[in-house]
């Protein structure tokens, strides 16, 4: 007797599934409007101590020490660009790893897994709403922060925006690999917090990586995000960059292809193992 599949997955059904996941997350997000307000003000809260700390290091409002490392004394614009990019980085990290943990806790992961939808697509779907809401809240945050601390982009905004695309797509590869680790370790919060915090920190979200202790610089230079932060700031704020801007963009494109492939490979291998062990629903 031949086993016959009742479902007929096509490209259109996969797209529909993606849309349904995003719509569900959209509804959940706006169900708690306080979270949207929090997303706007959280980054401002995080950079406020740096604003005042910068004052403690400045003479007559000039952070000359910072300028010697970065090529700009406007440390708040430098940090605000890093903050906006960090918001998106967190979205991809959180969006997938954390979504899996939420589904585990709610007890729906196993039933979702039984649907005839690509599992990577389920993960990607969980980030779509987050990306959109992050874009909205980051824009509002930037307007408020500009009024409070000042934000002066003097360079090429379009080139800066285009540079973020390969960087973010490459992060999806990272996200797949992290989602795989969540499937094994189950408790995702610490792992996601620590790893994203470390990666952001060492790739220079808040400071020029040239100022890192000499033993940390090689680690920083190995992280593709370092070149992402550096290139976006180079385009937008005309800071001095580690490599020529075009070389940094090329590196980001190579990073995108490599991590997407590697992340998907790791995820499928781990997912098969978890299914074999039968631990998918455990949390």
């Amino acid at each position: 007797m031949q086993t016959k599949l009742l479902s007929r997955p096509t490209f259109a059904t996969q797209l529909r599934a993606l849309f349904v996941i995003a719509r569900k997350d959209w509804k959940v997000f706006w169900r708690y409007p306080l979270n949207a307000i929090s997303n706007v003000f959280q980054p401002i809260i995080w950079v406020t101590p740096i604003y005042f700390m910068g004052k403690a290091f400045s003479t007559n409002g000039q952070a000359t020490g910072f300028a010697a490392y970065s090529g700009t004394g406007d440390y708040m614009s430098f940090i605000l660009v890093g903050t906006v990019l960090s918001n998106f980085i967190l979205t991809v990290f959180w969006g997938m790893g954390n979504a899996l943990k939420e589904d585990m806790d709610a007890g729906v992961l196993e039933s979702n897994w039984l649907t005839p939808v690509s599992r990577l697509l389920i993960l990607v779907g969980r980030t779509l709403t987050s990306l959109l809401t992050t874009a909205i809240t980051s824009l509002v945050m930037l307007v408020i922060a500009a009024a409070l601390f000042g934000f002066r982009p003097t360079g090429n905004t379009v080139a800066a925006f285009l540079t973020t695309i390969p960087m973010l797509l490459g992060l999806y590869g990272f996200g797949f690999a992290f989602a795989a680790i969540v499937l094994i370790m189950r408790d995702a919060n610490t792992m996601i917090d620590v790893s994203s915090f470390l990666v952001q920190g060492l790739s220079g979200a808040n400071f020029p990586v040239r100022s890192l202790p000499y033993w940390l610089i090689p680690i920083s230079l190995m992280l593709p995000l370092t070149y992402g932060f550096d290139a976006v700031r180079g385009w937008l704020l005309q800071t001095s960059t580690l490599l020529p801007l075009r070389t940094e963009v090329l590196l980001l494109i190579v990073f995108m292809f490599v991590t997407l492939w590697l992340g998907a490979w790791v995820f499928y291998r781990v997912e098969r193992r978890v299914r074999t062990l039968g631990t998918l629903g455990q949390h």
């Binding site: 306080l34 005042f52 403690a56 290091f57 952070a63 000359t64 020490g65 910072f66 408790d187 100022s211």
Partner: protein, 290 residues
């Protein structure tokens, strides 16, 4: 008739011993859950290091390659060890932050797991549910502070120029205010359900106003006034003075006095909010809803 009566009388016989037993059971359960996820070891080792590191590395960048910025910082703050200065501020912030999440969300987590309603039916003093969470939390936080001191001492050469015992005393005086706020939060969270935004608000206030990385004298006047109403301002000030400025008990007394008053205030508010929430939940029957 006799058998009918026995149906309505409580089967539980609450006494001091049974309350202590319940408290120990809750503490043991929390400890078991805490150990169930091995990632807590990573958290305990890594967080004390990486959170202050972000501010320390930013401070390093602001110092400049020739250290000219650092000279300005030393002149402004009077602190000779800028790493120690930042570590104290960020550690106090992390302590309050962890308590808000752990203690503040303890009842909410029970609600999400679906066990709060059944626990509520047991003949136990309900405040034990919060107190039971506090014991393991204080132990883990003491480990956290100890690890912070060891890591920054070994890796960054941060040395105490004051008294470790006075610094510990400041921490003990801070416990009622920090955990009282956690208790107040736990009741608020159970009523409002999705209250992460409130945690962000409170820890945000600490981050902006209490001078975790800078002296509050740099804040505008109105912000300095707000800072005087937050216990963490006194905690940070007293800890820095005890650890790095060789302050005596008399020097610390104004801060300790403020911490006692804040402690009494927040513990009272925490208990009153809990009783209010408990009554409200019983009347509305909303204890199991989420």
């Amino acid at each position: 008739m006799r058998s009918e009566m026995s149906i309505f009388s409580s089967l539980g016989k609450p006494g001091i011993l049974s309350e202590i037993q319940a408290f120990i059971a809750i503490t043991r359960r929390e400890w078991t859950i805490f150990r169930r996820y091995p990632s807590w070891i990573i958290a305990l080792l890594i967080w004390p290091l990486i959170f202050p590191m972000m501010y320390i590395l930013t401070g390093r960048a602001l110092s400049g390659p020739d250290g000219s910025g650092l000279a300005v910082f030393t002149k402004t703050t009077g602190a000779t060890d800028f790493i120690g200065y930042i570590v104290i501020g960020t550690t106090v912030w992390m302590w309050q932050n962890i308590v808000l999440w752990d203690v503040g969300f303890s009842l909410r987590n029970e609600q999400m797991r679906g066990t709060l309603e059944s626990n509520w039916l047991s003949p136990t003093w309900r405040f034990s549910y919060l107190l039971g969470h506090t014991g393991p939390q204080i132990i883990s936080m003491a480990m956290f502070v100890l690890i912070t001191a060891v890591e920054f001492g070994l890796l960054f050469g941060v040395k105490l120029h004051g008294s470790i015992w006075l610094a510990a005393l400041v921490m003990i005086f801070s416990i009622p205010a920090v955990y009282g706020l956690g208790f107040a939060f736990a009741s608020l969270v159970i009523t409002l359900k999705e209250a992460s935004a409130f945690v962000f608000l409170v820890r945000g206030l600490v981050m902006i106003f209490c001078g975790i990385t800078f002296p509050i004298s740099l804040l505008p006047g109105w912000m300095q006034s707000v800072a005087t109403w937050l216990p963490q301002t006194y905690m940070i000030h007293a800890m820095r003075a005890a650890a790095f400025e060789n302050a005596s008990l008399t020097d610390l007394w104004p801060d300790l006095k403020a911490l006692i008053l804040f402690g009494i205030f927040w513990l009272t508010i925490g208990y009153l909010l809990f009783t209010w929430m408990e009554r409200r939940a019983r009347q509305s029957g909303a204890i199991g809803q989420y």
